[in-house]
Subunit: 99 residues, 2 copies
């Protein structure tokens, strides 16, 4: 199994991020085909009580690296990728991981 890991930095306006993320971005991303599982994480702290370095993480699981690459290259995959700059005002790191 592989996953696309999207790490979001802290946005300039968290309320605006949350509204756009849930109402606009996730419906666009939901059209990506071939997903085995998705998991959305909101970071709430660190073990020593500090502020987490990242704000949110989205994990999109696929059966294989080839499937991930094929699906992310489709119009649906590209639409989700191209939408990220519309709300990710704290920056974003996107990585492919083997689980």
């Amino acid at each position: 199994m592989v996953k696309l890991v999207v790490m979001y930095g802290h946005p300039k306006d968290p309320e605006a991020f949350e509204a756009y993320y849930s109402e606009t971005h996730l419906p666009i991303a939901a059209k990506i085909k071939g997903l085995s599982k998705v998991e959305f994480t909101k970071f709430v702290g660190t073990p020593d009580g500090g502020k987490p370095i990242h704000y949110r993480m989205a994990e999109l699981y696929f059966e294989s690296l080839e499937e991930l690459q094929n699906q992310m290259a489709t119009p649906e995959g590209q639409a989700a990728v191209k939408d990220i700059p519309n709300f990710a005002t704290g920056g974003v790191d996107v990585m492919i991981g083997e689980v």
Copy 2:
């Protein structure tokens, strides 16, 4: 569900990291109680063919934030935390996330 997310930077010596991680660190971390699930990820690339910013990620799932905090405060939890500097030569970010 909550998870402790450990993001490792690229180590100075990946072979030494992998050996220590599998032979020493994971057996120490396996003694942590109350885990609902664990997932280990090795980053292999980015969608545009670049080098991923992080090297590895470990995710430790617990039923609740209280359970996470209680278990990480035990001798078993603290032993795992204190072992991290012994091999994480590329640095580490540890965050708590709500799933």
